[in-house]
């Protein structure tokens, strides 16, 4: 029994958290990093009371939990269908109840961030005698939970995902595909839930920041710090893009495209990827930034992802190290932004990205990504 738990833990659960590390860093910052230490409990109590206080807010939160469930379903079913994990179908020899139990275990582990917060919300609701809200929250999560476990179970049993009506058939894009946007098509095709959820969370976060943060004097830095969180939420996507490039775009190295062109294509790609956020922040104009300072935001939005992308060409890089280094860089940037170095900081980051790219692009080989979350 312990061996099954160990295998499921290593091939499904740990992989899930590695793959979504950027997303969880973003959530962690959002829930625990934006409030001063002393006000943390008050902040969360206020948040929970807001959830319990109005049906609209409660509905939004339930929808977000539903989306997270879809993210889990999408990941687990895709993973179960990977040829390398086909050995897991041997679990079908176990009694049905046991397989159900193991799938419950898997979902419990990937759904744990929600479960832990839900328990606190229900406890607060019961203490405040808001039994109806507690029941709604409990029932909604129970339905999500059972639905997810049932889908995993079916997927494992049939070794197919065709039965899932929720197989989210997004339209296939039939348009001209410029080379620099290949990663975007890949993300849309293969990681669409990751992309959509990242966008949803970052836009909600930016909306919240612009709507509720009222500076007492003009200062660009809070906006830049917010953008750091937006980039943090995209780091997993960046890693996925590098893995895709290594796996599927190797053929393009045989084509006569200059290193400069390749670099600016990468910059162009990240500009397009983060265009929704770049446009959305205009909602905060002129309270949070002026036209001149917008250039700082643009430079930051293209320089940081380009830098994170470029460091993945170095020979020591793998998934775990990447997340540690990204976290360290974001923390350092957090303090550098407080020093208000202006656009120079991001020009420097672009230059660093260029140096890494120039010297490592052609030197990189696939074997360096052996420990990546996708592999």
């Amino acid at each position: 029994m312990r061996i099954i738990a160990k295998i499921l833990q290593s091939v499904l659960i740990n992989h899930f958290y590695k793959l979504n590390a950027g997303f969880f860093i973003f959530l962690f910052f959002l829930l625990f990093g934006v409030v001063r230490g002393g006000q943390l409990i008050e902040f969360h109590l206020g948040l929970i009371q807001a959830i319990l206080g109005g049906p609209l807010f409660l509905l939004i939160i339930i929808i977000l939990w539903g989306l997270y469930t879809l993210k889990c379903i999408n990941y687990i079913t895709k993973r179960l269908m990977e040829p390398g994990l086909s050995f897991l179908t041997c679990m079908n020899r176990l009694p049905r109840k046991q397989v159900w139990g193991w799938m419950c275990f898997v979902h419990f582990e990937v759904y744990f961030p929600v479960i832990s917060y839900v328990i606190i919300i229900i406890a607060v609701a019961i203490k405040a005698h808001q039994y109806q809200q507690a029941l709604i929250i409990f029932t909604a999560n129970l339905v999500f939970y059972i639905a997810a476990v049932r889908i995993y179970f079916k997927c494992l049993q049939l070794h197919s995902i065709d039965f899932i009506l929720l197989r989210f058939r997004f339209p296939t894009i039939q348009i001209i595909k410029p080379y620099f946007l290949y990663p975007l098509f890949f993300i849309w095709q293969e990681r669409k839930w990751m992309l959509l959820l990242t966008k949803l969370f970052t836009l909600i976060y930016l909306y919240g920041f612009i709507q509720f943060y009222e500076p007492y004097r003009y200062d660009i830095r809070p906006m830049l710090l917010s953008i750091i969180l937006v980039i943090a939420a995209h780091t997993t996507i960046i890693f996925q893009i590098r893995s895709f490039e290594t796996e599927f775009l190797l053929f393009s190295r045989n084509l006569p495209i200059s290193i400069w062109k390749r670099f600016f294509q990468m910059i162009g790609f990240y500009f397009v990827l983060l265009l929704p956020e770049l446009l959305f922040v205009w909602k905060g104009y002129p309270l949070h930034f002026n036209v001149l300072d917008y250039s700082q935001i643009v430079f930051m939005v293209i320089s940081l992802p380009a830098f994170f992308h470029a460091i993945l060409y170095t020979s020591i890089m793998n998934g775990d190290e990447y997340m540690k280094i990204v976290f360290a860089i974001l923390t350092a940037l957090f303090f550098l932004i407080l020093y208000d170095l202006g656009i120079l900081l991001f020009v420097f980051v672009v230059l660093l990205a260029l140096i890494f790219f120039y010297f490592h692009y052609y030197e990189f080989e696939k074997s360096n990504l052996v420990n990546s979350p996708k592999n």
Binding site: I173, K177, F185, F248, I257, F364
Partner: protein, 210 residues
Amino acid sequence: MLQFEQIEKYYGNHLALQISSLQLEKGLFWLKGENGSGKTTMMKMVAGLHPFKGDILLDGISIKNSRNDFLKLVNFAEAEPIYPSFLTAKDLVEFYCSTKKASIKESIQMLKDLHIFDAYQNSVGSYSSGMLKKLSIALALVGNPQWILLDEPLITIDVAAVALVCDWINKMHQELGISFIISSHQSFQNILPFTAVIEVQNHTATIQDK
């Protein structure tokens, strides 16, 4: 002339290939060797896919110093081609032709001759391995290369396509003066008039007479 100078290729600590000096005049070369001997590695180095120590020069143009000019003259088809599944043959043909300054019309004609043009607008994810192989060969023949490297070009494709590809290789070599390095475990010396055989063994490559 294709020159290999002080080539060393390691995978981790494992020496895969070491060529202190090798010169290939224009011609049709059959690249032979056991599985894992380094044939694909050698081709991928020339095609710019693998980093290595040393240098490779084509008529004096170094892959290290003038990569773009070098790659304009070298085309490559992998043994097991991998393309993003969402791309169509049309996307790939247009991309290759724009970078290699080649004629799309000619590429389309090749796909028609190989009987895969019906799937021109389909994503390559829906292609069989034979269709994918045919597409990769057609892409390796576009533009104005001086050298074309084909890694196991005859596996997975049907008999008619084998004859057609060999015919193209012959014509391109004789009429346009394009040189080929073709790796294969199958003997097809009777079909193609090879200039010489390149034998890869004991982590190095040597030219042998036919």
